[in-house]
C-alpha cells in the first residue's frame, strides 16, 4: 500500500508539490495524470528516495520513507521515464547487479533473472549488450529489473514515453499482467489513453495539486457520455451530453463529429487544457 499525506516539495519559491494526499491500495493500478511540470515525476522521485520532500509524510508497504528508508526501499521497484540501464553491460549483468544491490543470493538472482527474462519474452537476450537493444526491449528490461527483488509496489514513470503505438500496447499488456499477479502499480503518464486503458483509479494533477481522483468511469461520467467536436476554421470546441439523443439533437454548425466521452475530455474540462499541452 502507498500512503501519502500532505506532501510538499518546494524548489526555491516554486511549489512543485502543493499538499498531495492519497492512498493506493494493495494490488491496485493507480494512474497519476498531469501535464509536463505538474509534479508527477517529483512525486515518484520523493517516494523512491531520489528527492527530499519539503514536508509531509509517506509510507510504502507500511514503512515510512524518511525514517525507515531501507525497509521502504525493499518494498518497491521503479521504472524511470528514461532508460537508466548500463549500456555497456549485458541484459543479464544489468539485472544481476540490481539483485546484488538488493542483497539477493547468487542462486536467487540467477533463478529470478531466468524467470523474468522468460516473463518479458527475452530469454534469448540475456547475453546481449543493452546498447544493441531497441527502445522497446530496453524498456522491457527496465521493467524486469524493477521486478527482480519481488517488490509489492511498482512505480512506472512514463513507461511508454518515446515508444511507438505497437510497442506501447505490448508494454501495456505486460503492465496488466504484472498487476494481475498482485503488484500495486503507481503509473505516471501523459498518454491519457494509457491511464484509461490500464488504471482502476486516476488522479489528475495540476500545478502540484490533485484536482480530481476517482475511477476513469466516474471521471468521464462527470462530464457526460457523448461529445460533439465542432470545427470552425482552426478552432475546435467540444460540447458534452448525457445521452446520445441529446447529442444528436445538438445543432452544430459547420463540420462536427459525434463520439464517446474519453478521459481526455474529463481532464480537459477539469483542468482547462490538454495533458500533452
Amino acid at each position: 500500500m502507498i500512503a501519502i499525506e500532505e506532501l510538499y516539495k518546494n524548489y526555491g519559491p516554486k511549489k512543485a508539490l502543493n499538499g498531495i494526499s492519497l492512498t493506493v491500495e494493495r494490488g491496485e493500478l493507480f494512474a497519476y495524470l498531469g501535464p509536463n511540470g505538474a509534479g508527477k515525476s517529483t512525486t515518484i522521485r520523493i517516494l523512491t528516495g531520489l528527492t527530499r520532500m519539503t514536508s509531509g509524510r509517506a509510507s510504502l508497504g507500511g514503512f515510512d520513507i524518511e525514517t525507515q528508508v531501507t525497509l521502504a526501499k525493499h518494498q518497491f521497484g521503479v521504472v524511470q521515464q528514461y532508460v537508466n540501464l548500463d549500456q555497456e553491460l549485458t541484459v543479464f549483468e544489468n539485472l544481476d547487479i540490481h539483485g546484488r544491490l538488493f542483497g539477493m543470493s547468487k542462486r536467487a538472482r540467477r533463478k529470478k533473472v531466468d524467470t523474468l527474462l522468460a516473463y518479458i519474452e527475452m530469454e534469448d537476450r540475456a547475453d546481449t549488450l543493452v546498447k544493441s537493444l531497441s527502445g522497446g526491449l530496453k524498456r522491457r528490461v527496465t521493467i524486469a529489473r524493477a521486478l527482480l527483488h519481488e517488490p509489492g509496489i511498482l512505480f512506472l514513470d512514463e513507461p511508454t514515453v518515446g515508444l511507438d503505438a505497437a510497442i506501447r500496447r505490448r508494454i501495456w499488456a505486460l503492465i496488466k499482467k504484472i498487476q494481475q499477479q498482485g503488484t500495486t502499480i503507481f503509473l505516471t503518464t501523459h498518454h491519457i489513453e494509457e491511464a484509461e486503458f490500464l488504471a482502476q483509479r486516476v488522479a489528475f494533477l495540476d500545478n502540484g495539486r490533485i484536482v480530481a481522483l476517482d475511477t476513469p468511469e466516474h471521471l468521464m461520467e462527470s462530464v457526460g457520455h457523448w461529445a460533439v467536436d465542432q470545427f470552425a476554421g482552426s478552432e475546435m470546441t467540444t460540447s458534452y451530453f448525457k445521452t446520445r439523443q441529446k447529442a444528436n439533437t445538438f445543432k452544430a454548425e459547420g463540420e462536427f463529429t459525434l463520439r464517446r466521452v474519453n478521459l481526455e475530455d474529463a481532464f480537459l474540462s477539469l483542468i482547462g487544457r490538454k495533458v500533452q499541452s
Binding site: 523512491t48 528516495g49 531520489l50 528508508v69 537508466n84 548500463d86 555497456e88 553491460l89 547487479i97 546484488r100
Partner: protein, 248 residues
C-alpha cells in the same frame, strides 16, 4: 553478508564489469602517457641527467607511479559523472537499499583498482627501460593511501559538479597542475622556499616523496604516510556528505 559490504561490492562489481569490457582500450590508453614521459623526459632528455647520484629514469618512474595513483583514481569522477548525468545510473543506486557509505566505498575501491592497474603498466614499462626499483610494503602503502584520497575526492567532486564541462574544468584546474608540481618530474628542493611550503600542502607531494623514497630503498618519512592517512580519513566523510547532498 553485512549490508554495507554487500552494497559496496555491488557498486564495485558494476565498475569492474565496465572496466573489463573496456579493458584493452583502457590499458592501451593508460600506457601511452607513461610511455611518452619515459621516452621523452627519461630516455631522450634525461640520459645524462642525475639527481643525488641516481639516474633521471630512476627518479622519474616513482614520480609517474605517484602521478598515476592520483590521476587514475581521480578518473572515476568522469565515469561517475557520465553514469549520473547521461545514463542516470546514479538513480538506480539511490533507489536501492544501500547506504551512501556503501556507494562511496564501492566507487573508491574501483578507483584504487584502476590506479593499481595503471601502476602495473608503468612498472612494466619501467622494466623495459631498465629501471629496477624496490617494491616493498611502504611503496604499496603510499600508493594505496594516495589513490584512496584521490578516489574519495573524485566521488565528492563528481557529486558537486552540475555538468560534464564542470568536471573537465576541475580536472584542468586541480589535477593537472598537481600532476606537474607535486614532485613527480623534478625535485622540489630546487624551488623557492615559499613555493616548497605551498607545494608541501598537496597530497601528491607527500605521495611522491614517500613512493620515491620507498622505491629507491631510502628511509620513508612516516610524516608523509601519516599525512596521507589523515587526509584520507577526512575526505571519506566529505565524499559521503556530498553523496547525501546529491539528492535534490
Amino acid at each position: 553478508m553485512n549490508p554495507f559490504i554487500n552494497g559496496s561490492l555491488a557498486v564495485y562489481r558494476r565498475e569492474m564489469l565496465i572496466f573489463r569490457r573496456r579493458f584493452k582500450r583502457q590499458m592501451a590508453g593508460q600506457a601511452i602517457s607513461p610511455l611518452l614521459y619515459l621516452t621523452t623526459f627519461g630516455y631522450a632528455m634525461g640520459g645524462e641527467l642525475r639527481f643525488d647520484g641516481i639516474s633521471y629514469l630512476d627518479f622519474l618512474v616513482p614520480g609517474l607511479v605517484a602521478m598515476a595513483s592520483m590521476t587514475q583514481a581521480f578518473a572515476i569522477a568522469t565515469d561517475i559523472n557520465v553514469a549520473r548525468f547521461y545514463w542516470h545510473i546514479f538513480d538506480e543506486f539511490q533507489a536501492a537499499p544501500i547506504s551512501n557509505g556503501s556507494y562511496v566505498a564501492g566507487e573508491v575501491m574501483a578507483g584504487i583498482t584502476r590506479a593499481f592497474m595503471s601502476i602495473g603498466i608503468i612498472l612494466g614499462l619501467g622494466l623495459l627501460f631498465g629501471v629496477r626499483l624496490h617494491y616493498g610494503v611502504l611503496f604499496w602503502l603510499a600508493i594505496l593511501l594516495n589513490s584512496f584520497f584521490f578516489a574519495n575526492l573524485a566521488v565528492a567532486l563528481a557529486m558537486l559538479v552540475k555538468s560534464h564541462a564542470d568536471q573537465s574544468l576541475l580536472t584542468n584546474f586541480v589535477i593537472t597542475p598537481m600532476a606537474f608540481l607535486g614532485g613527480t618530474f623534478f625535485p622540489l628542493d630546487r624551488l623557492p622556499a615559499w613555493l616548497q611550503h605551498v607545494l608541501g600542502l598537496l597530497p601528491l607531494t607527500h605521495a611522491s616523496t614517500a613512493i620515491r623514497s620507498a622505491a629507491l630503498g631510502h628511509e620513508v618519512h612516516w610524516q608523509s604516510l601519516l599525512l596521507l592517512a589523515a587526509m584520507g580519513s577526512v575526505i571519506f566523510p566529505v565524499a559521503y556528505h556530498c553523496v547525501n547532498r546529491a539528492r535534490d
